[in-house]
């Protein structure tokens, strides 16, 4: 692991140039390379991509359209994979870039976030911390059990998806999920129309009025060797994504052996006692680089008000 983090600084520079890069750093963990391939620059029409033989090439941004598999195909997982996410609570400072990238990537309106960031405080005397919460893609998902029409399903690669064309909008899965992960389209939002591509459950877009949707681990990105929107967007490298069978996770900058990371940092799953067996692990907020108050730094009023009811905000109110 130490070897892996050596290349940290060079890689960061590399990424800052807006280049698309292979996972050269991950020496000895070549398997993860497919997850790191593509990084695009948003400001230019041309983007650089790395081809499979290691050449960097400029292509039209339009050519980078993500492939969308059919509804039928989306029922089966990506063969031989089992995805896992690790979230390092020590590094999160509520920059909300993950939320923004996810919203944009999935064409979601404000107020219908797949990724939510909580300000948790376990008890009065314990320290508050920022807690990004995607879907946990449980291995024992209650949302899947209770769905009356099979609109939500667990795939072989561990991903729990929603087929919005099948969903009847009974919202039973929303009450079934103990993590309040699912969101409902209470009307037809204009953002849904931004997406001109045909619907695919893997893209989770375009959204459909009167149906339930949620974080999908971005299988459309994984298929082209990218990591989910939230992972690549996070400036702090809080979110790691990878494959539990390959025992590797990456945040786009650093790559770790999953089992070792969980062992060294005492990783845990949230509300383990509920027996849902999540595929998202958390690293406890120890040795933090930022004060929790920094998380309020650049927030606009609307977002700030969302935390008004937290014990932390109530205590520090002037």
């Amino acid at each position: 692991m130490k070897e892996q983090s050596k290349n940290k600084s060079t890689r960061r520079e590399f990424l800052k140039q807006g280049l698309v890069a292979g996972a050269g750093i991950a020496a000895g963990t070549g398997l993860i390379s497919s997850l790191l391939d593509a990084r695009t620059s948003e400001s230019v029409e041309k983007v650089k991509v790395m081809t499979t033989d290691g050449q960097i090439r400029e292509v039209d941004k339009a050519q980078l359209k993500l492939p969308r598999v059919s509804r039928e195909e989306s029922h089966y997982g990506i063969p031989g994979r089992k995805f896992v996410m690790v979230i390092d609570l020590a590094k999160c400072k509520n920059a909300r870039k993950c939320v923004e990238a996810c919203q944009k990537g999935h064409h979601l309106p404000k107020g219908q976030e797949f990724m939510k960031i909580y300000l948790l405080q376990d008890s009065d005397k314990t320290s508050p911390y920022w807690f990004p919460k995607p879907c946990f893609h449980c291995d024992n998902p209650l949302c899947v059990s209770v769905c009356p029409v099979g609109a939500t399903y667990k795939r072989s690669d561990g991903i729990v998806l929603v087929d919005n064309e099948r969903c009847i909008g009974c919202k039973f899965c929303m009450t079934g999920c103990p993590y309040s992960t699912r969101v409902f389209a209470w009307k037809h939002y204009p953002e849904f129309d931004e997406d001109k591509e045909p619907y695919s459950p893997e893209a989770g877009s375009p959204g459909k009025e009167g149906t339930v949707s949620k974080c999908d681990f971005c299988p459309d990105l994984i298929r082209v060797g990218k990591v989910p929107y939230c992972v690549s967007a996070c400036p702090m490298g809080v979110i790691y994504f990878g494959d539990i069978d390959e025992d590797t996770v990456t945040n786009g900058t650093d790559t770790f052996q999953f089992s070792q990371l969980i062992k060294d940092r005492a990783g845990y799953r949230y509300l383990e006692n509920l027996g849902t067996r999540p595929c998202v692990y958390y690293l406890p907020p120890v040795d933090r680089q930022y004060d929790v108050s920094l998380g309020f730094g650049d927030l606009n009023e609307e977002i700030k008000n969302r935390y008004n009811e937290t014990p932390y905000v109530k205590k520090h109110k002037p």
Partner: protein, 439 residues
Amino acid sequence: MESDKNILLKEFAPQLNRTGPWGYAWISFLLAVICLGIVAFFFQVLRGHEVTGMRDNVVWGIYIVNFIFFMGISYAGALISGTLHLFRSSWRKPIIRMAEFITIISLLIGPCFILLCIGRLDKLPYLAIFGRIQSPITWDVIAISTDIFGCLIFLYLAVLRDLATLRDDDIIKLSKWRKKLYKILALGYTGTPEQQLRLNRATDVMAAMIIAIAIIVYSVLAWIFSVTLQPGWHSTIFGPYFVIAAVYSGSAVLILSMWLFRKIYHLENYITKKHFVSVGVIMLVLAAFYGYFTFSDYLTKWYGSEKNDELLIRLLFNEYYWYFIISNYIGVLLPLIVVGIPKLRTITNITITSVVVIIALWLNRYLIVVPTLESPYLPIQDSRPEWLNYGATWIEWSLTAAGVAVFSLLFTLASKLIPIVPISGFHHDLEDKKEGISA
């Protein structure tokens, strides 16, 4: 016997034959309320569910509350009429028809409320096409449709004799189309001993069956909540608790309808204080059970005070304080006092109590649905502030009012088509006596 029937028919002729100005005013009022509901429904369909107070946290609101409520009074009707029939309670005659009407009418209205809660009504057939037996909603679909079917058969068997009586009637002048309707519906029943025997047997079987179905259906409904992991719902007591609460609310609705029909149709000779006290005592017993279950459920939650249970209890005793007091204190104690103390047992008192019980039980369902959804495992954060708490909008209230109006309208119309007190009830009397002697 024949003369008895004639007397009864004459007595009921005005209800069946004519509708006075007040009757028309009442029906017009109900239609107006229903129209308001239709407008609200179109609003909801055209603008999306955003027009309701439901949001991502509180995904189920008063639609589900109404659903549980109407299903509850329906099962109660089934249980009460089925049980009274099987026990051959001699006092049941004048009120059993009402219980049957309540059952079937509320059973038709209840499921409509769950449909209002569904985001994509256009995809409703998927429940049948792609139905998964693992889902409690599928259990519910199967159970409720079985129940509707069973209750319709039971009601039909129960009114068959009256339909035949009305077909043969030549005392009150009924319009031609109605005569024709009665003729078709009476299925050629003439009251031969064999027909009577068969009808009695079929009614007995159906009475026993709807009791069983009612218990199963209401338990399934409770399981929709208790199979989830939500604190406040994830309770083993919910099945029997819902069944008891259902019968309890139904007994109260029965008392209220007894009072209304007694006043409006002048049934003082048929529905007497004895009936009010008898159903009142049933209500008292159920109140005691309901109180016991409620206490048992909340005591264990409070005593162990697991974090999320504690949050829920705190919410119930603060924001929902009066709801909680009315539904779980007054709603339990009032029937115990009013029916329990003989001096207080007047028709008016029992009726007022039943109204309080109806409100208390509706609130009880509200307290089960809404506060639980407002206190999930992860605190509600990073969500728009206006989404934190649930409050029903005019759309939801209009549709609720429309539901009550449809119930009242169908009840009124049914009482105009089929006598609200079984006119062939004296047949029953004789049969019961015979059976009693032979037994």
